[in-house]
Structures are given as C-alpha cells and as structure tokens.
Symmetry: D2
Subunit: 337 residues, 4 copies
C-alpha cells in the first residue's frame, strides 16, 4: 500500500532520530529545564526575530490549544473559531471541558473573515451571553488553505477593536509558510499574533510543538497551566532535542517545503487530468473529488481519508504528503488516475 | 557530575531506542490504531494473565490520572488519597481542575490504611458533602514503599464496602514488583484493582504508560476521554513500539530489577555507615538524612533532590537509581560518604 | 409606564403571597426536607399522573438546566439544542462552564426538527468529536411557539434511536399547555420526556421551578448535584409553599391561561391592524414588527424589549403578558397603535 | 416541639415580609437592575462607609462562595481554608467543581492562624503544586467563634505577603458583629478584606446575601460570573427589597443582636449548670456537650443537630437561636436541663 493518509503516519526525519540517539545517555533535569530545551527556545526566538517572547515546548496539538485557551480566557469568555476549526470539531469538547464556549463564525475554505468576527462580537454585548475573548485561527487551515499577510492584519485589527487575543494554531505552520502564494514569514507572526504555535508532529518530528507567547500579560505562570493540563513532560528534553535539531539550520522549513513540493506534483498532475477539488489548497493537504467507484478502486492500492460527500453523490477525499513521501509514489498515483 | 536525581533524567534503554529506529519509516494509522499498539496491548494482557481487560496506551502520568478520574467519577464524587499522594500534592490541582475533590487520609510512609479510608467514607454520608467514589494509591509510593498482597486485599475489601473504585498508580510499578519483600505479581493486579497503570517513563522508556481497565463499566468510551484530555497522541505507535519491545520478553521487570539492585547497593552501603532514612524504601528511591553541611558537600559532585526538613535541622534528600545507573557511580558515592 | 417587558417584572400572585405569609412563622427543616415541599411534590406527581417520578424543587431556570445537564452527561457528551435555545444563547456559557458542548441544530421558529437531530447525531460518530447525549428543547420556545404532541413524539423517537436523554425546559410550560393549538397535557410529559421542568418564576411565583425526573437512571444522587451547583436553598420550604398553593387546585394553569388570554387580545388586535410578527406565537410572548419610528413612539409609554433587526430595517420587538397584565392595558396599547 | 435547629428554619422577620408585600405589584426590570436593588446597594455602601466598592446581591451562600472563587482565581490557583471551612466540608465539592483546590490549614476553634497560612504558602512554591491565590475565612466561623480586629489585621498582613485575596464569608456576619468580645465594625471590613459578603438568609431574610468587592481588579465583569453560576435571579428585586428594608435603619444588626441575646441567655444558663462546650462561641450557635442519654431525652421536646462525638463517648450538639427564638423557649430548655 502507498500512504497518503496523514503527515503523521510515519516516524521522524532521520536527522531528528539521530539527534535523539546522540543525546540518549545524557542526564538532564526533567520538565523542559535542560540545556537542549534552553537552546531550542533560543533558536526559535532567533528564527522568529523576537527575543522578548516566551516559548514553551508542548507535547501535542490538542493539549497546546486547551492549555492556552484555559490559561488566558476568563471563565465567562469564549473563543471565536470557524465552524471547521479544529477546536470546534475535532477535540471531543476539550475546550468546553475546560469551561469555555467555542463561538463559531462561518468558514470560507477553512478561513475566518474579519466581518464575521465583528458581527458576532457586536452581538455578544451583555452579561447574559458569553463574552468573546479570543480569536482562534489555524494556518494552514483544516482545508489546507493559508492566510495572506493582509488577511492576518485585518484579523489583527478586529481583535484590537474588541479586545480579543489572536491565537494561531500552527500545527501545519511549516507547510503554510512555504506554500505557493504565501507572503507571511516567521518574523511576521510575533508582530501580528498574541500567541501562536509551531507544529512539529505534522512536520517531521516524533512529536512536539512550541508555543510562542507574545503578549506580556499572557506569559505569567504558563508553566503552572502546562503542568495542570498534563503537558509537563518528564523527559521534556526529547522535545528540546528535536526543535534544536531542526532549528539549528533551516531544516524545519526545508522539510515543509519538500512536503509542499510533493503536494504540488500531485495537485498539478490531478488538475491536468481535470480533477476538481473541495478547496484550493496550496499546502500539503489536497481534497480531490472522485466518484464513489473511483474511490473504491484507489483504495485497493492507496491509503487516504474520506473528507465529505458532495451534493452530486461524489466524494471528496484527503491526500496528505509528508517528509517521507517519494516522488515515485506520487507519479504512480497520477499514472493510476 | 553524577546523577541520582530521578529515574527519568536520561533517555531510553538501548533496546527501546533500537525498536523506535527500526520502525521509524513504517506508515501507520495514528491514535494508537496500529499493529504495534495492538501487539503491545496483547502482550500486556498476556503478561498480566487477563485478556478480558481493556488496555490503553497513554502519554504520561498526570494525564493518565486525570483522564481516569475524570472519566469514572460522577461530578459530586471525590477521590480518596494519602496526603502524600501524587494527585494531591504534585499535579497542580489537575484533579480539581477536572472538577473533583481529592479527599485526604493520613499517610503511613506514603501508604494508605484501610481503617482511615473506612473512617472518611463513613463521615461523608450526605449530600452536603462530596461522596467518596475512588481510592487512589500508588505502588511503589511517593516514599518508595510498597504494598504487600495482604495490604492490597484489605484495601480491596474497604473499597467493596463503600463502592469505591480501586485505582493503582503504577508510575513505578516495575520497581515495586521487583522489590525485596514484595509478594505481588502482575497477575494479582487485575484481580485486586479496578484499574491500574503500568509506568514506562520512569522505567527505561522515552515516555509512555499503559492503563489497564478491569471493571466492565469503566471501559466504555474511554478513548473519548483520552482525546478530550489531550492524550490522543498522533503517533501513538511510538508508545506501542516501546511497550512491545519491553513486554515481548521480560525486559520491563529486568530493567526495574536492575534499578532496585543499584538502590540496594546504595542503601546497604549507607546503612552500614549508620545513615538514617526518612522511610524504609525497598525500591529505587532512597531518602537518606544528612546534615546541611554534608548535603552541601555532596552537591559538589552528585545531583539529587531535597525532600524534607527534619525537626532537628537535618535534611532528608532523595537519591534515585535508574536503568543507566552504574555500580561504580554508587560505589563512588559510598566512598565519598 | 405600562409594562409588557417580561412575565417576571412583578412579584407573585396574591394567593402565593398569602401562602408565604401564612406559613412564615413555622419552623421547618431546611433544604427542601419539610412538609410543604413533600406535599408540593406529591401534588405535582398527582397532577402529571405519575407517582414513579422524582421531583426536585429548584431556585431558577439556569441553575435547573446546568444542574441537570452536568448531572446526566458524561464528560465527553454534548447537549443538542436549537441555535436559539436558552442554554446556547442566554446562559453566559453556563453549560460549557460545566464542561459540556452545546451542539446546535437549526431553529424553526424556535423549534427543533427530528431530521436535524438525526443528521448531527449521525455525523458525530467517533471519539475525535463530542458524543451527543441529550436533546434540549423548550416549550413554549424562546420565540413563543409550541410543540404538538406529534412533534414531541417524533423527537422522542429520534432520541431513542441515538440514545439521547430528552429534556424539556418548561420555564413557560404553563403558557404552552394552555395555548391555542396545544394538544399536550401534563400527563403526556412523563410519557414522552426523560426529564422536564415546570416553571414557576415566569408564571406567578416569586421564584422556583420543579424538575421532574422520569428515567430511572437519572434519579440517583440528584440532591448531591443540586447542592454542588448552588441550588440547595436553605429555606427550601419557600418553593414548597408556592408549588403547594398553585397545585392544590388548578391555579398553575389558570394563571397561564389568563396570561395567554391577554396575549390573544393583543395579538388579535395587532393582526386586525395588519401588524406582522417575527414568529407565530400562540403563547404569552409576542414579536410584532414595527418601524423604528413606531418603536420610539411606543417606548414613551410602554416598556418592552428589542428582539431582532429585520432585513428591511424594521425592528421586531417583544411584548410579554403576565398574571398582572390588565385588559385595559392591552386595550390602551391597541388604541395607541 | 421547640426549634433550636438553625437560624434558617423559619421565614423572614415581619418587616421583611411587609416590604415584600408592599412592593409586590410593582413592575421592575429583572436581574437586580431595579430601583430597590440600587437603593439597597447604596444603603449598604453607606453602612460600611465606603462608596468605592462594588456590591452585588446574591441568592445564597454556596453560590456566592463559588461565584467569587471561580471569578477571581486563575485556573492553577487554590483557596486556603480551615479544615472546618464551609467550602471545604459542606459544599459537596462546589469549589473543586469550579476547578480549584481547597488547600486546608488546621482550624483553631474554627479559626485560621496567620502562621499556618504562611507555612502552606511557603511550601507551595513551584509549578508542580497549586498556587495559593485566596484566603477564605468566615466570621462568625462554623464553630460560632469570631475574629478580633487584631487577628483580622494579622491575616491581612500574611495575605499581602503572599499576594492572596482575603475573602470573608459573612453568612453569619450580623451575629459576629454584635457578639460579646467583638471589636470589628462594618466600616473595618472594606479596609481589611478584598471582598466579603453580608449574609441575609441566616439573619431574618427569606433569602439573599450581598457581596462587597473592594479590590479594584476583582470588580470587572462580575455580573457575567453571577449569570454563568446560576445566580442571576430573575426577580432580583426581591433581594433588593429585603436588604433595603433592613439597612434603611439598623434592623440588620438589631436582629442579629437579639439572636445573640437569646444565645447568651442559653449559654449563661448552661454554664451555670456546669455544662461544657465544644467551642467558646459568643454568637448564636452553641455547642454544648451532653451524654447520649441526655441528648435522647432532650430530643423528645427540642429540635437541634448533632455536631461531633467526644472521645469519652459524649455528644456535642448544636443549638442555634434566631430572630424568632423566644426567651420563654430558652427558659423552658434551661429548666429541662
């Protein structure tokens, strides 16, 4: 079988594995208080061009989202998200379990529009309703689309108007920053977001994310929250070693760029065959639409996931490329189409 | 420096690292739904001699405790724990953050006595007070001590009397089961506990624990809870691979036995020098008592942690051995004492 | 000024006040454990024709909803509600603060359609998403509309299909049961709902609601939940005395019928003048649509609330009648229109 | 039977009932936004000599405690309380259900000592443990004892040292402020506490408490919290009317003083007969110790509650006086002893 299921179906990039092996018999303090974590954090600060931020290493995406939202919202505040937002759909109510409503706005190919945020904030104006306290977006989104710098600036503006924290879920940030059409850089993020996270799990790590906290008042006692929410990893150094390795040069973005390249190969090939897509994704998640028969046929040889049913009975599916995807695997798929 | 800080200051046992490397480029489904996890779970069931249980692989200890407690207690129920219990002292209110009171009973060298449980349950008998719903114990305890089979049977009895779930935190279960004086076996645990977990992080893993759910009504929909609490690890296979490796033969207990052996060397040596201990620990955590001057002197060469101040001004400290501890490191310490 | 703001803008019906005065110097046990509460509960059981149910007296609506939902849902379960549902919009995230997502379905004049419930339940079918556990409806709804017996039976059916608890918020149950076009009776409710509450606050009480729990497994330890959620009223007898007074004969429905009569007078008068309505309400909440100028003019003499803006710039407002509304007040309003 | 069960076993003081009757047919905005609430709040501010505070009217004690604690603590913060504190023992885990640990210190006749607070705060000094964020005390305490001004000043000092909010539960504040030996005044409270509440339920009201928020940063958006926690009473005016009535002159303290007078009559009479007490209470709760036989005999004619078992097998019971207690009832009891 050939795998296009997810970008986390395999292990880690060889350099990441080597780094873990190389440091395996070192003794370190637990809980991210070791030299590798310190170094990793410094490399991240340098890479995003801001050494005033706080960076914390995290175990996974759901726990990063929950920890941040639980830490920063007051009990009566809610987080605004697209209906397709990961926190709204795919976290089994983790946000609500921490006490906060996810207030939805319509999605536009997975993205949030400033006017929708403005509308929902204007409507929630008294103490009988939740108070919007944060805007949650992801880049790339759940549909593989990305925000332009201008779009992010517009969202920043509406957040300032209503006093919302702007939090960007970067589970697939690498893929976003190296996508065709992207004009955002690592350096832009601390200027536009109050907090964001840099995803490792879906970009060549065994696991691990790094949350960057920009706004001063969000920094305080965040480690207490990490511990309480179950993210105070005993061997925190493991995440430190991985971030250190991929940020000591530009491996982080290189892995992502490679993944996008494989996706482009697939996308261009599919488009050339007249295949339609559910959304215009320039990143490593593609959502081609096939007939049910075609899907059944492809499943004999390829592993991929169902995404949605179209009104005409056809099926949108999801193909994802990763650091391990090989050009010949894509070529074989294209040949089979 | 020589490290006796914790049993999680280094990486993983070489065989564990090899297994991770060997399987690194395999593609698998995420979220513990892969062949390695399946195999690991079957090996665990076989090892504990009960294939009717449910086993789930977990990322870490705090998240295992919180997920289990949040899953199984009704909103008005509390968990009974020794004052020294990890969930009471060292989880930053994670249990309370999931809505449940930790109701304490006195600790006896870290252990819980049945009569104390009986007393507190008898006193909490009406709807103006929380209702005890679970007894939480750990083996080995936070002070390195262990439960005998008879003691565990007595606790089982009191749990049955008051309808309490008996949950055993096995973060250091390996060390307990291979300790001098221990008469409990892996096979006893599903007979005596409603649920327990087998700790990997503190016994030669990079990370990972396995929770075993025995009681039928506790099994349902546990994966929903894992996801909501942030433990639905994307590359779940990593934990599967580790458990598979150490349970395919008896490596799990062998690593623990080695650790205990190193501790015994240290303990016997210290006792021979007349050093006193805070608790009588037969496992890999030792709590010798030194003068402040002695502690300061040792800190120049050894890394270890503060535990408690004695009434006479002396200091109890904690020395922990691990799979990586070498006999010559212990000998050197003894020579320096 | 003439008040059509709400049905809770005035105090209680004279007979209710007399009952409170009459019993004021009696001594009773607190927390609903007195003779008046016992009698009230028996009268309610008799009135709904089911003495197998559990009835608990409650302080108010939000606390009744939160207590029930928190008591009955497992941590990963959500409650399904119309977008307009009180728990979704007007409880400041109280449900989410108890840990549960409110999963919305479209509203149809405030009502829920079975096919929408079926769709959302079918889509939420795995552990990465919340699990629907309850359907919340209100009768009359937030838009004054009511469910027919057939509609309620259809909802019961879909609840049985997906294992949902059917919970009916009866804050304005009196008005619903005495409305034109209603074919539901008190006796139908325990046959069709798993639980429901009978609202007092909005029907001539000082305050107080009565929750009726039909399904056996929902009954256990509900008083613990009442206490924990802040509803264990010290002088619980006050609510007992009120329910006792209005259920010792048919005052409960008589007050509601009177209120509906006043609303009908207003509605018929408005319709005769060609005034349009936001929803077709046969109960005591009316939502006429006026020009902004007309609203401004009416506000000089009448007190009422804004409801919504229409696309054409007109304003839907809310007029509510109560036990204290006088026919001449309605006549005066109609004359002024 | 003669009732000494609680101070909330009867209804309200005649003047309170009259005020409710007098205002019954007035129309008002709901949710404490009416003229009576406004007036009541102003009278309270005047009475405590501080018009910079925020005052909110509340439905009951548990809901006041939970709302305040949930509003003001960050998720990882805990509230420090005596082991006997109401929030620790008698609220069915309501505080924990809002996510916060109650961290206990030893009680001294129901009171908290500054040195115990200092100790527990010093020990909780890193992110693996909860962070003390509030000190909760009650005056009078659960054992009827009271704090002197000096004692309260000492607690204020330790709160300032560790950055704790000082919150005083005044469910029985009236009885405390009018007790023999008391040197605290209403005016002292906003100077020494960050927040406190003035209890009505146990001092001649039907129900209702008033929370006073002194510290600026605790004031913001408190009404959101009241709503979310179920305390946004529809007919909020009812509580406004009651506070208005008892604070328009000195009825609040007069009722409490009368209650204390009745208790003193009882206490002095009991002491004259050589009866011992569990605690030295100068307020309206007395805890005499009797043999089991004596208790059984008294129960034939008097209603009162069990408090605790003494080591010698005797029983401490609780006698409480209220605004309705009559001197001849106390005399009769004394004659029977």
């Amino acid at each position: 079988m050939i795998y296009f299921t997810t970008d986390y179906s395999a292990g880690a990039h060889p350099r990441v594995m080597e780094a873990l092996l190389r440091t395996n018999e070192e003794h370190h303090n637990g809980y991210f208080e070791d030299a590798h974590c310190e170094n990793a954090i410094n490399l991240i600060k340098k890479r995003i061009g801001d050494d005033t931020v706080d960076v914390h290493l995290m175990v996974g995406g759901t726990i990063t989202n929950t920890t941040a939202i639980a830490a920063w919202l007051k009990p009566y505040e809610c987080v605004v998200s697209a209906t397709t937002g990961h926190i709204n759909v795919h976290e089994t109510g983790a946000i609500e379990a921490s006490g906060h409503k996810v207030l939805t706005v319509p999605e536009h190919e997975g993205k949030v529009l400033p006017e929708d945020v403005r509308k929902v904030c204007s409507e929630h104006d008294n103490e009988h309703m939740v108070k919007p306290g944060m805007l949650y977006i992801s880049d790339s989104t759940e549909l593989g689309t990305i925000y332009t710098k201008k779009e992010l600036e517009e969202l920043r503006k509406v957040c300032d108007e209503f006093g919302l924290i702007l939090f960007l879920d970067g589970a697939r940030l690498g893929s976003a920053l190296t996508a065709e059409g992207n004009d955002l850089t690592f350096e832009d993020l601390p200027k536009l977001c109050d907090a964001f996270y840099i995803g490792g799990t879906k970009n060549g790590f065994l696991f691990g994310e790094a949350i960057v906290i920009v706004r001063e008042d969000l920094k305080k006692n965040f480690r207490y929250m990490i511990k309480q929410r179950g993210g105070m990893f005993a061997k925190g150094r493991l995440i430190g070693v991985q971030f250190e390795e991929v940020f000591k040069d530009d491996l982080y973005l290189e892995m992502a760029a490679y993944t996008n390249e494989m996706a482009k190969l697939m996308r261009d090939g599919m488009k050339a065959k007249g295949i339609e897509f559910l959304a215009e994704s320039p990143t490593n998640q593609l959502f081609p639409i096939f007939t049910v028969e075609k899907v059944a046929e492809l499943q004999k040889k390829y592993v991929f996931q169902h995404q949605a049913w179209m009104d005409d009975g056809r099926e949108a599916v999801r193909f994802v490329t990763s650091w391990l995807t090989k050009p010949e695997e894509v070529e074989e798929l294209l040949a089979d189409l």
